[in-house]
């Protein structure tokens, strides 16, 4: 099972995906395939269609055209929960963390472990803390499970948000600008979190404005301009200069 998904069969496959908002065409005829354990950097200027694409994959809204396959099966997401059920998790730009709760509580928020006593169910604090510690270890993050999120740095907060996706055993993690609002030192931490997810066979789609981050961590780069995919190539075959040209339109396609 594990080996078959690691083969060349794409985890996620988009064919001719398009999205219209009334008369506005936000996304046009996008083909994209993402394999397990692959980090795909998605770049483009504001309004290029990156967010629209991510929201279609995450189930925030349905595509107007085209077909989406996950592990070879056609999927139609009506709600983010549908996407989550097949194994697609999204790490939101604002991280969706609750400051006044601990790291563990955040990781398990909405899917707490419980033990039963007659008709009552109580939180299983120890099991949740142990599993959270394990996940932080896998992510090579020293985030302490019992610490409140409000005491944490931006990098640690990212670790907590990513730990949520590990808990769900996500196969594909969408990250929306994870390095936008944090310090240089923390960026390095987040990039290493992304690498450790990749090492565990998780596919990561990294939406970012920051060229150095994408080139540091991505295997492949996809560039959007005005709702269309303009490039899709291995990172070693490209360069920041080329990508800049593709984003601005100085170069039409690659």
């Amino acid at each position: 099972m594990e080996t078959s998904t690691r083969s060349d069969q794409p985890l996620l496959e988009l064919q001719g995906i398009g999205k219209d908002f009334g008369a506005v065409r936000a996304l046009h005829d996008v083909d994209l395939a993402i394999r397990p354990g692959e980090v795909v950097g998605v770049m483009g200027d504001n309004g290029a269609g990156k967010s629209t694409l991510v929201k279609i994959i995450a189930g925030n809204f349905a595509a107007s055209h085209g077909e989406m396959r996950f592990e070879g099966r056609p999927v139609h997401f009506r709600h983010p929960i549908d996407a989550r059920e097949v194994g697609i998790e999204i790490v939101y730009q604002d991280l969706a963390l609750v400051d006044n709760l601990t790291a563990t509580a955040n990781v398990y928020l909405g899917r707490e472990l419980k033990w039963k006593l007659g008709p009552f169910a109580f939180l299983d604090h120890r099991a949740m803390a142990n599993r959270a510690l394990e996940i932080f270890g896998e992510l090579r993050s020293e985030t302490r499970p019992q610490h409140l999120v409000k005491q944490m740095s931006g990098g640690q907060r990212q670790a907590v948000a990513i730990a949520r996706t590990r808990l769900a055993n996500a196969k594909l993690v969408l990250m929306d600008e994870p390095t936008a609002a944090i310090s240089v030192r923390q960026v390095a931490q987040v990039l290493s979190l992304i690498r450790s997810m990749r090492d565990q066979g998780v596919a990561v789609v990294l939406i970012s404005h920051r060229m150095p981050d994408v080139f540091a961590v991505a295997d492949r780069i996809v560039v959007f301009r005005r709702g269309e995919k303009k490039a899709d190539k291995a990172i070693r075959d490209s360069s920041p200069e080329e990508v800049t040209a593709l984003i601005t339109g100085a170069k039409e396609a690659a």
Partner: protein
Amino acid sequence: MSTPADDQVSYANIREEQWWRRGVFASQTGYVTAALIVLVLVMNFASPYFFTAGNLQNVAKNFSFIAISALGATFVIITAGIDLSVGSMMCFAAMITSMVMSGLSTPGAFGADLFVHVAADGKTVVANVPGLILLVSIVAGMGVSLIVGLVNGFCVAVLGLSPFVTTLGTLSIVRGLAYVVSNGRGSFPGGPDVDYFYALTSGTAFGVPVPFLYLLFFAVVMAVTLHHTTFGRHVFAIGGNENAAEMTGVAVVRVKMTVYVISALAAGLQGIIICGWLGSAPANMAISYELNVIAAAVIGGANLAGGVGGPLGAIIGCVLLEVIRNGLVLAQVNSYWQQTLVGVIIIAAVLVDRIRSKVS
């Protein structure tokens, strides 16, 4: 699975705080408890009557009269909401309970024949089943509380109205209804079950006023609920970041509905207990008690911005208010100063906490 490797990321910037700088010791609840202990010691020297059994029993009883409602209101406050309708709710629940009780105990009144009959002497009213009238009347009082709680919760959680405005509305609506149903005269508990009623509301057990025992019971239940159940965790999550809670799959609407129902039920129960103490349910009963309840919760450390609060804080807040009131009486200070002092303490308690978070 990879193991923590050599390139392990270091988060050495966060270290464990000393024990006296974390948990309850570093919270507003901690400071207020310390202040309360100091106050009690001062009272001990200021008045020889303070530490007498009678006075302590009195204090315990008096603060129990708002503390149960303060527990319920704290749930709402933790979710960053507020419930201004608790004072009116106390009155209305007390009124419905006592009206149902005396109504069902009046032979010839609607439905009363099911519950009572007149004894052979032609005067004494006897219950068909002892205690049944009491049960029905308390269920009626709690029933109206449930309805008001559902209305508050529906307006806030489903319709998205502001909690302040919604409960300001129900404050007025429910108070108005209390005047309407009693024609402004209030009502009195009565009938064959009234002795049970007084025993359950203003009696003592093991030398302790029963309201105080109820309070302890509910405080323990609340502590367990807040810290050891999914519901409690979600209450804190909603108060901390409602959007995040929503996105991570917390049933925000259901949890918010529930906290308003809890607050209304606690206020209703509180009203019924107060009614037993007063021996009546006047239409102006518990006016402005919502302010005492909220003040107690806030003094005890609940944060109106949400995400912080608990039963210990709510009770400590109530005790502090009552000790001050009691102290001023014992010290023969003009009792009109009480309200002024309460206001000063609210601001001082919040100020100390603000200074602490600035310093750390």
